[in-house]
Amino acid sequence: MKIAIIDYKGGNVQSVLFALERLGVQATLTADHDVIRRADKVLFPGEGEAASAMRELRAQGLHELLPTLTQPFLGICLGMQLLGRHTQEGGGTELLGILPFDVVRFPATPEYKVPHMGWNNLQALRGPLFEGLSAEDYVYFVHSYYAPVGEYTIAEAAYPAPFSAAVQHENFYAVQFHTEKSGPVGTRILENFLKL
């Protein structure tokens, strides 16, 4: 199985490579359009700031390639948010527009700190990505912005209101949490994705 991880200097991809390595899977970190197009699975991790990520994606022509991909695709953290239409981050930034959501910032309150950082449980799970998992399962989140719940939502978490913990449109799957840092639960989700 050929797995491509999109290389757009989007932060810590080493942990994703190691997580795949623990599953006995080799992956290629690449921005090469042909390599990405021919891959069996594509992973799109990301951390950091949306506007600079979009600049790098545009510089490499990836903003045009990614929406045309047809193989199973998994966005992680910022890699999920970038699939939306627009984000408040960076004073307002246009995104890839693969999924019809707009990314907004959590309001910080004394009780609910921002970033939303730590282990939260998943609710309203749908589809093959979450096979074998339940609302008792916790995953690790670190983010200040979120995608609201919509018809594309395949898992929710609450902080304190529900938001999209995972989304899907056709072959495009994405999770707001870090599968590679979510212990055995995260490993199971990665395994489920690799079976798609």
Binding site: E47, K113, W119, V142, H143, A158, K181, P184
Partner: protein
């Protein structure tokens, strides 16, 4: 529901765990990777590695350690201890650290926090603040491994660090550290109210009830401890079961 985090802290020197860890069944307690994996299995939510190496090879050994840990560990971890430049932070993050904590370097030049947050995002920049209580001046911030009083007020410094872009505050009470009399509830609560980012409480944990208190009374988001975990005085699972009985959300 977001859970409260339990974080064991490992001191490392020259790539080895120090501060005598006594763990039955662990063949090499000096191996940070083996110890980290064990804590992860027992239910630790995150780990902190505090590097106290003081040699010229410090950066290379720390990067190698981060790589080894990231290869094995499937929970997040923070690395701290004498980290002072953007390139240090970049090397650690690129090799698999989830967060990097800065302390003395941030106090020497607070703009470093802004630069790191702009470059890497707030989510991976932790500011570690060491505070000590004085009858006359209240809680003051210390640097250089707790040897130097900066004269800065603890709450004001933590607020400034968060405003400059720290994504988390790791607050250690030097007045409580090593006492096992419990966390410093007053300063932890004051900092937690003053900043809009998560606060990790450190220093003084001696019992399970100490964690309940720091979560319920001081509103800490996470509790960090070293020796009580290393010496097996409190198991992570039994601690979390205690917290759940007290009505605190934990990952079990």
């Amino acid at each position: 529901m977001l859970t409260k985090r339990i974080i064991p802290c490992l001191d490392v020197k020259d790539g080895r765990t120090v501060k005598g860890v006594r763990f039955e069944g662990l063949r090499d307690a000096g191996d940070p990777v083996a110890l980290a994996a064990r804590y992860a299995r027992e239910g630790a939510d995150e780990l902190v590695f505090l590097d106290i190496t003081a040699t010229n090879q410090k950066r290379a050994t720390l990067v190698a350690l981060v790589r080894d840990v990231a290869r094995e560990l499937d929970i997040p971890f923070t690395v701290g201890g004498g980290i002072g430049t953007v390139s240090d932070v970049e090397a650690l993050l690129m090799n698999g650290a989830d967060k990097v904590s800065i302390n003395s370097a941030a106090l020497a030049r607070p703009e470093l926090i802004d630069e790191l947050a702009a470059r890497f995002g707030s989510q991976c920049i932790v500011v570690a603040a060491d505070a000590r209580y004085h009858d006359a001046d209240g809680w003051q911030i210390y640097t250089r491994a707790g040897t130097h009083n900066t004269g800065r007020d603890a709450v004001q410094w933590c607020r400034e660090a968060a405003e400059r872009g720290a994504g988390e505050i790791l607050l250690t009470s030097m007045s409580n550290d090593g006492t096992k009399d419990g966390f410093a509830l007053d300063i932890t609560g004051a900092v937690s109210r003053a900043v809009s980012v998560p606060v990790v409480a450190s220093g003084g944990a001696g019992s399970k009830q100490d964690f309940t208190n720091v979560f319920q009374q001081a509103h800490a988001d996470a509790g960090l401890a070293a020796s009580i975990f290393h010496f097996g005085e409190i198991g992570i699972r039994e601690l979390k079961e205690h917290l759940r009985q007290d009505g605190i959300a934990v990952r079990l």
